[in-house]
Every structure is written in structure tokens, then in C-alpha cells.
Amino acid sequence: MNITRLLTASTALVATATIAGAESHVEMADEMTIVSWGGAYQESQLKAYVEPYLEQNPGVTVTWDESSAEAVAKLRAQNEAGNVTWDLVDATAADAMRLCDEGLAMEIDPDEDLAPAPDGTPASEDFGEEMLVSDCFIPQIAYSYTFGYRNDVAEWEGREPDDICDVFDLENFPGQRSLEKRPHNNLEWALICDGVAYEDVYDVLETEEGQDRAFAKLDTIKDETIWWSSGADTPQLLADGEVVFGSTYNGRLFSLIVEQDQPVSMMWDTQSYDLDGWIIPEGLDEASLARVKDFLYFATDTQRLADQAKYISYGPARKSSAPLVGQHAELGIDMAPHMPTNPENATNAFVQNYEWWADYRDDLDSKFQAWLAQ
């Protein structure tokens, strides 16, 4: 029954996509350069929607460029040189917002450019405002920054951390921690553990006293902290027993815990949501743009986003995809419980304020770096 419905839905979708494609009379380019992050994440995109798309469109070739980490700077340089060579770029929500601000990314109309949900809900509602954070951003997944901890630390005498503030509790949970080498999330977590309510965090962080409070809280664990700058650091540090607590992307922790079976556990409390998605660079020629839009319509539909969750533990950005999330492609375990968006994991989630960070990033970053150097 379920499968039949699924099939009908996806056939309908393919049909709509074909009609949408047939309506436009623009020639579509046969080549696409897609920029992504490399690694397991790019693999999940390849399996979930690039390969199926290429199967449907045998004449098309896709080139990957693993430059998403420097996407903003490189796109800016390409734009200044007047030679944009990318067709589609995978970027975090914050980067997408910046690219949009800089006029480097194209604005999109979700209801026109993206497929509606199988039940006909328009894309803008299916994604929702909390996902469509910028006019240029086409969300794919929700991931989160969260903590993993060693579950074999003798000094903890069997205590298991279940609260974000346990990270700041050196008495009950001694040992080194690893935190990201930038102010994002760290300052928020520090304030929350200093007694600030979720909804007040950014109001407090706007003030000089609030910032001092956050840094003072971080000061309490500064000597016990290793600062990471690459997402692979924390999993390595945890696996080596170098740290007992570490923040990183939840997908990295998933592969450490489930795929590599390390003595590490996940702490979902106050996980901090972030989004990742596509942007279309400004200035594509008509043929490339038509191809990219055709691909996007397919790649961000309900089924494709749900498929992606088979390969990586990031939550699909569409509400309608959530019920379709199935099992891990190789391990055969249910993926839903490992999603940051899973209701059980999301009871106490924190949502980053991108617009706020766009304002305060420069200021707080210099303060954070100065604080680190003290």
C-alpha cells in the first residue's frame, strides 16, 4: 500500500517535472558542474539524486568540484573575474545568505522552481519559513552541531551526561573537551548554561555584558579545551581518547558511533540546528540555468530528499520527506532515530539565528580570537 502510494507519487512527480521541462523551449546544457563538500555527504547526494537524474537524462555529464568550504570566496573571485564556472553550489545557510547579500547567488521562487509535496502542498509551505532563510537558498538537509562523549571514562564513575551544561561541569565530568574554533554555538551554549533562556540568548549576546558573561563561562573550561577547525577533528580526538567531550556535526558522530562502533555516545541536548542546501550562482547562461533548474526540481523533491537520509544521518529539509525516511543503505538500521529532526532528539534543540550572526560575526569573531589568544 505504502509502496504503491510512493510509486504513484514519484511517477506523478516525474510527470510534472517532464511537463515543466517540456513547457520551456530553452535548450538545456548537457554539462553541469556541481560544487559540494566531498566525502560521505557528496556520496549521499550522488546516490540519492545525481545518479537517478543521470539515469533519466543519459546525455548529461556532471563534474564535481569539492570546494564548498571555500565556496563564498571562490565564487566571489570567479564573479570578479567575470568567469563563473560553477552551475550549482552546495552551501550552508549562513554562506547562502552571504552569497545572496553579495549578489553572487540567484534569487529563486520556491513555488515556481521547486516541486510541490506529493499531496500538492506548495514547496514554500513544505519547506517552511524556518528552512527558506534566504531568498537564494534551496534547503536540502538540516544537520546539527551536537556533542559526543566517551562512555568509558573511569573518572565519571558511571555518570552519563545528558545536559549541555555537563560540558561545563569539570567536577562531575573531568577531562578535555573539544569545541569549534569560532564563536558560533559556543557563545550560545555558554549563555544557556549561565542561565539564559533559549529565546533570550541573542538579546543577551547583543550586549557587552552578555558577551562578557559568555566568555566568562567559556573561561571555566578554556584550559581543558582543544579547539577544532575541521569537522573530522572531534571524531578523531574522541576515538583516540584525547578528549572526553566534543562538539561536531551529528553525521560525523553517527559514523563514529554506528559505522565505526567506537565507545562514544551521542548527547542530543541543546543540539544547534544548521541548514545546508543549494544556491545557483548569478550570471549563468540560459542553457545552463535551464539544466540546473531542471535538476533542482528533481533533486529537491520529497522522495529524493528522503532517499538522501539512507546514506547520511541528516534530516531532510521537507516536512513531507520525514515520514519516508527509511533504513541505512548498508547497515539496514532505521535512520529516523539518528536524525537531528527526530522528535525525540529535537525536544531541546536550539535554532541558530543566521541574520543575527551576519551582523555580529565580524565583531564577535575578533573578540573570540582575542580571547583565545589571551
Binding site: D101, W227, S229, A358, S366
Partner: protein
């Protein structure tokens, strides 16, 4: 840097007829011209040929290396974005008397309205917002938010009233006719300016025909401004605006975001309105333009760059010295061993050179971390206790260790090639004259190897000053360099102006040190090989 520089062959030799001096005047060549001339000509040809030979490389370096660097460095002072995005506002601010005590008067807001409306159509307002946000927190969202609002400002009351009073004012064709007449343009300066901007905008950004479009509100707002000022040009319809319902543009901006009436924000826009700025350079040395325009120190909790420059210098020196310390004995050994064993050793020196930088750096992580190989061994040997494992990584020590390893070949190779040229007989001669081993080494061998130390030190020092991958991975917080901040501003914060300023200072520092080195040691004393 080799001394094998040869004097160019003098072709005109053949033209010299023995060099006799004629009594009438200058020496003549065989063809009867003065010798000096033909010599010069031949030399010129020679120089031209040499120049043509190097010119492909020269052009390549100019185009692919010097020009981009110069362009990048130029960004450290460039600041046209403010006056280009808000030209009218910048001009109006110059006239304004209210700053810095109070927010500027209505004319500035009227100018800003036109500027921001146009900027929002071109989507350049957010770019300006990001630029100004480097100087003052909050300007990014201020521009983004008001850019969204500015198209919906309640200025259509002017449009409606004008069209009601004179229906011809709705017609873009009539407008075009008026705006082609010089007297009308002179009589309605704001209107003419706004009209031109609107036409340009319609054609360029929206690709529409201005003759078929509705004229935008900001043109009518400018018209009201002109007419309210008492303009009454010949040939333009008479409209009495004295009874018009008005709206304060300043109030509209305040409604959009109350920060717009904050004089501090206007002071920032004014300070950064010139086409060139020293702001990035001030920022690079932990200073800033204060509210009164004077340079002043940044708050203590934001000072970072001077510290990083200083750290980069002394740590690079430390790395260079440890390279000398470790590299010298190896190079000595290599140069004195028989060729066959020397070659095997040489491969050992070069092997890490051929391994990926990231692999080597990551290997150091495994070795140096607290649960790593070195600490485990020390604990097992009982040299340190389990509770007091050494912190060898994620600090300055980690950076010095890993960088020394990475730069060691750059020290060993020049040392080796210089030592190879020291004849062994010198040592034997010294010994035959009664010197013991140490004296022979110290008085004879060592001075001869100094040029190699010089070359290796310059290489290692300059390379280490610009390194950022290794410090980023193993440096933690106390072992990162200024280049890490430059990389951050290039790829992450997009503050290319600041990155360029930091880079310029770093380049100047390196050149100064090079000059000092030349004065003290002498650059002629540096050899990369025999």
C-alpha cells in the same frame, strides 16, 4: 646567486681595426663611424636580445604574479563602494551640519531614499552593508532590512497628488520630453538626477522600455522636493505643492529601523565615504578610526593582530634556529660520507619532502597528542606520570616541532651543496699545521659553510612566515600565525581589504628583514650551491 656570471661576448671586436687613434677626432670603426657609436649599438642589440630572451618569463611573471598581487594589495586602501552605492547621500552628508551631535537633516534622508531605492534594485545595498559591518556591527542587517522596505515606503502620496493635480505627469513620454529640455533640467536639479537614475535603472537592471513604464515614486518625491524649494521652470506644468500632504522621509527610515536616526551610524558612513581609506591598515595594527576621525586603539578585548605579527616573527625565528641545529650535523655527515652512503641518506632526507604536507602534519598529531605515541612511551618508561602527560600539540610547541620537520629539507639541501664544495684538503692542511679537530672545524670548516646557513635560514624563515596549514592543524590557539588570520579573512569573513592590509604589512616586514640581513650578513654571502 651563483658566481658563474660570465661577461657577455663582445661581438664588435671584429669591427675594431686595431684601435688606432685618428688625429682629427674620436676613434673610428671600420665602417667609418665613431667607435663609441658602433660599440653602443652593438651593446644595445645585445641587451635587446637578452631582453627578448627573458621577456616571455618576464611577461608571464608580470601577468600571473605581480599584477594579481598588486591588485590584491590595492584592496587594502580601496573604498569606492560607499561613494559608488550612495553617491547622493555622500554628497548630502558633506553639506550636513548636524553630525556628529545629532542625526542628519531631511535632505540627507531624501538623498538616501533615492540611493537606497536604486541600490536595492541592483542588489548592491547588501554588499555595502557587509562592507560597513566591518566597521560597525549591525549595519549589515540594517541595509538588508531597509533595502527590503524601501520599495514600499509611503512616498506614493506624492505620486498620487501630482497625478491628481496634473494627469500629464503620469505619462513617461511627456516626462521624457520635459527632461530633454535644459531649462527644465536646470530648474529641477533633484528631479533631473532622479529621472536619469530611473531611466538607467529601467533599461539596465530591469531591461524595460522607460517609455512604457510607470515612473517610480522616488522621482515624484524628488519633484516635490524641487517644487517645494520654489522651483518653477518654464515649460513644466504648474503644480502648486503648498497644499500637498507631506511625509517625512526621515520618519519613514526611522519607522523601518530606528537605528537610522542614530548619529553614530551616520558618522561611520561619513568616515568611510572617501574613495580610499586607511581603515584596513589601522585595523591590521589593532587601531581604528574613532568617532572624531582620529586613529585610536581598539578595545583591549579586540586586539589581536600585533600579537600575531610578533608571534609569527619569533616563532619563525625559533623554527629557523631549530632547523639549523638539526640540519647542520646531517648536512655535515652527508657531505663527508662516501658518495654511495651519502646518496642513501639523501633519499631519507628527501623522502618526507615528497610526502603530502597534510599526511606529515597529521602524523605529528598521532605522535604528539596526550594519548599519542610519544607520551605513551614516556609514561611506559616512567619518565612522566600518567596524570601529567606532556602537552606537545595544540600549542606553540606543536607548531615548532611540526614546522621544523617540514622545513628541514630546505635547510639541509643548501647546507649540503655548500659543504660539498669545501675541499677536504683544507681540513688536512689545518691539522697539519697543528690544529686539533675542533679548531680545524671551527676556524676553517665552519666559516666556509656560513653561506649555506644563510641561504637555508632565509628559505626556512620566509617559508615559515607564510605557513598556515600546519599551524592551523597543530597550533591550537597559541601556535597560529598571522597567515591563519589572512586565510580566514580571505575565505571565511570575506574581508579582503583587511586580508590585503595584513598581507601588505607582512610583505613589508619580510622585505625589511631581508634588508637588515643584507646589511648585517651581506646577501653576497648567501650560496645555494657550488
Amino acid at each position: 646567486m651563483t658566481d658563474s656570471a660570465t661577461t657577455p661576448p663582445r661581438q664588435p671586436m671584429a669591427a675594431l681595426p686595431g684601435g688606432e687613434v685618428t688625429e682629427e677626432g674620436p676613434m673610428l670603426a671600420a665602417d667609418g663611424r665613431p667607435l663609441k657609436h658602433s660599440l653602443n649599438r652593438a651593446l644595445r642589440r645585445e641587451k635587446l636580445r637578452a631582453f627578448l630572451l627573458v621577456s616571455p618569463l618576464l611577461i608571464f611573471i608580470l601577468v600571473a604574479f605581480v599584477a594579481p598581487i598588486a591588485d590584491m594589495l590595492f584592496r587594502s586602501v580601496e573604498n569606492q563602494i560607499v561613494s559608488e552605492t550612495l553617491p547622493r547621500t555622500v554628497a548630502a552628508l558633506r553639506e550636513d551640519q548636524n553630525l556628529p551631535q545629532a542625526a542628519p537633516g531631511e535632505p540627507v534622508y531624501e538623498a538616501l531614499y533615492t540611493d537606497l531605492f536604486i541600490a536595492a534594485e541592483y542588489k548592491s545595498h547588501t554588499r555595502l552593508g557587509s562592507r560597513l559591518n566591518y566597521e560597525m556591527t549591525g549595519l549589515s542587517s540594517l541595509f538588508r532590512g531597509t533595502g527590503r522596505d524601501v520599495g514600499r515606503f509611503d512616498t506614493d502620496i506624492y505620486t498620487d497628488q501630482f497625478i491628481e493635480a496634473e494627469p500629464a505627469l503620469e505619462d513617461p513620454v511627456a516626462w521624457t520630453n520635459w527632461m530633454e529640455q535644459d531649462e527644465i533640467r536646470a530648474g529641477l536639479p533633484f528631479t533631473a538626477d532622479a529621472w536619469d537614475a530611473w531611466v538607467k535603472l529601467t533599461v539596465e537592471a530591469n531591461e524595460d522600455d522607460p517609455l512604457e513604464e510607470d515612473v517610480e515614486d522616488f522621482v515624484y518625491t524628488a519633484l516635490y522636493r524641487d517644487l517645494a524649494n520654489g522651483a518653477d521652470p518654464e515649460g513644466f506644468p504648474d503644480v502648486d505643492v503648498s497644499e500637498f500632504e507631506t511625509v517625512s522621509i526621515k520618519a519613514l527610515f526611522e519607522e523601518s529601523d530606528e537605528d537610522w536616526v542614530d548619529p553614530e551610524i551616520w558618522q561611520v558612513i561619513k568616515t568611510y565615504s572617501p574613495a580610499y581609506t586607511d581603515g584596513y591598515f589601522l585595523n591590521s595594527v589593532d587601531m581604528m578610526n574613532g568617532p572624531d576621525g582620529d586613529a585610536q586603539w581598539r578595545p583591549a578585548d579586540e586586539q589581536i593582530y600585533l600579537k600575531l605579527f610578533w608571534r609569527t616573527m619569533w616563532m619563525s625565528l625559533a623554527i629557523t634556529f631549530s632547523c639549523i641545529l638539526l640540519g647542520y650535523p646531517i648536512a655535515y655527515l652527508l657531505s663527508t660520507l662516501p658518495l654511495r652512503s651519502a646518496n642513501v641518506l639523501m633519499i631519507l632526507v628527501l623522502l618526507p619532502f615528497w610526502t603530502s604536507l597534510l599526511v606529515r602534519t597529521s602524523a605529528w598529531k598521532v605522535l604528539l597528542q596526550q594519548q599519542g605515541v610519544i607520551n605513551d612511551t614516556l609514561v611506559w618508561l616512567g619518565i612522566v606520570s600518567d596524570a601529567n602527560r606532556l602537552a606537545l600539540i595544540n600549542n606553540a610547541t606543536g607548531t615548532v616541532i611540526a614546522m621544523t620537520h617540514i622545513l628541514l629539507p630546505f635547510m639541509i639541501l643548501p647546507l649540503y651543496s655548500v659543504m660539498k664544495t669545501i675541499p677536504p684538503s683544507y681540513m688536512r692542511a689545518a691539522k697539519s699545521m697543528g690544529a686539533n679537530d675542533w679548531t680545524a672545524f671551527w676556524r676553517v670548516w665552519f666559516p666556509l659553510s656560513v653561506p649555506g646557513i644563510g641561504a637555508g635560514s632565509i628559505l626556512a624563515f620566509i617559508l615559515s612566515i607564510g605557513y598556515y596549514i600546519t599551524p592551523e592543524i597543530v597550533g591550537g590557539t597559541e601556535g597560529v600565525f598571522i597567515s591563519n588570520r589572512i586565510a580566514y579573512h580571505i575565505s571565511s569573513s570575506l574581508n579582503w581589504g583587511l586580508a590585503a592590509a595584513l598581507g601588505t604589512i607582512l610583505l613589508a616586514l619580510v622585505l625589511t628583514l631581508y634588508w637588515v640581513y643584507d646589511r648585517i650578513v651581506g646577501i653576497d654571502n648567501v650560496k645555494l650551491g657550488g
